[in-house]
Symmetry: C2
Subunit: 246 residues, 2 copies
Amino acid sequence: MADLIRLKLEHYTRLSADDVQLLSSLSTLNIRQIQPRRDIFREGERPKVVNLILDGWAVRHKMLEDGRRQILAFLIPGDFCDTKNFVLSEMDHSVGALTAVTVAQIPNEMIQDIERTRPRLSQALNWDLLVQLAIQREWTLNVGQRSAIERISHLICELFVRMKTVGLCHNGVCNIPATQTDLSEATGVTPVHVNRTLQEMRARGLIEWKGREVRVPDMDALQRVGMFNAGYLHLDREGAHLDANE
Amino acid sequence: MADLIRLKLEHYTRLSADDVQLLSSLSTLNIRQIQPRRDIFREGERPKVVNLILDGWAVRHKMLEDGRRQILAFLIPGDFCDTKNFVLSEMDHSVGALTAVTVAQIPNEMIQDIERTRPRLSQALNWDLLVQLAIQREWTLNVGQRSAIERISHLICELFVRMKTVGLCHNGVCNIPATQTDLSEATGVTPVHVNRTLQEMRARGLIEWKGREVRVPDMDALQRVGMFNAGYLHLDREGAHLDANE
DNA sequence: CATGGCTTATAACATAGGTGAGCACTGACC
DNA sequence: GGTCAGTGCTCACCTATGTTATAAGCCATG
């Protein structure tokens, strides 16, 4: 479990033995458990630590005054909740646990140390941040231009690829602990319409979804519907590695 | 004009005389002019330099295979087109000029030097990147949850605030060189409906828009309609400075 | 094994916003 | 000073998706 982050960062760069050592020490130090549906941090708080997800799923989300809520990202094991947010004085959104979540709380100073003394690791953190930005851009495109079925297909493709990079998706099957309401908040579609759309997707043989288990019998077909192109995830350097995993 | 970037970064931190010196040297070195409606760089290219906009407006955008296009951000003087993108091997989107644009092309190595030797400036670059990320999140929320009139109002509020921080907006008037088609691509609404919505906004006295000149007679009213809260722009440290500017 | 709270599924109806086509204005260019 | 391209504007019609409401399934708990 401690190797998740390593697995993820090594998609970008080869880390030294020292770097790997440091990373695994991070994931044993200062662990916090969060109950399902509780917040890990809230909009308006001052960032005190950097949270690294070791286990479970979380969502980045933001609410409008009138209660409408947008899910801005799904966070899975190996993801940072708030990579370098200590640079900002206040969080502008919240992160909540979807399932029970385990995070490693990394002191801000430790990240700053890394930035000063570990060029490799520091570049890897920059890479992580830039990929977050690329994902957020893709989500803007998703919600802005694609139809309901395209949005949901695209989202599922992204989750499958990201879960694969941390070894949590095999043989076209993946555990996705999101309800239809969560999907609706992530895609900007009403829950009723998400339901309709999922049924159409089932009818077309694009997905099977029972409880948390999602099966994609034909990933190419799903990618075509969602107009999904993994380029924005920038896994290029270790593309071979990814395939080997499958 | 060379002081734009300084004006912007000083919303985050006080820079030393040395830092300021360095910044103005950047904006005289290696200048490039781009014609209106031409691209500054394209999806798929390898990032060779970091582009800093000195004059004019640009848009970050991405296209779907079938031609639908989403504008992901408006870039105004003082903005980086691609802050640290040399970390990635390939651009996942394009940036195009809206008007004639002047950029300073900063060699990647120069940015890396700054990261190694100028902690203040380096933090300021991190801040800039995190604010970009926050803006992108807000856009996802905008497109995902708000109605057409809310989206457009929110967008205008953001542009006004950002233009103010670089001294390009005074007395409730601002030059916005975007067509209704541009607005439609930024907000995920059809051009026809943007037109309808702008007319409603004019009728309600929220905006006056002639050519490129946009007047907002009552900013509070517009902010209420767009549910705009400037927190995500993280201008807190120099909030006083901002007001003094007006 | 009854209770209650999520979650999924439905149905009937309503509407914000999309589509396609066309016209009028403006300013740049020959 | 006529042509042309880009932009703004309108209209009539259409549909993907939203709304409201209800019911059924499922699982955790006492």
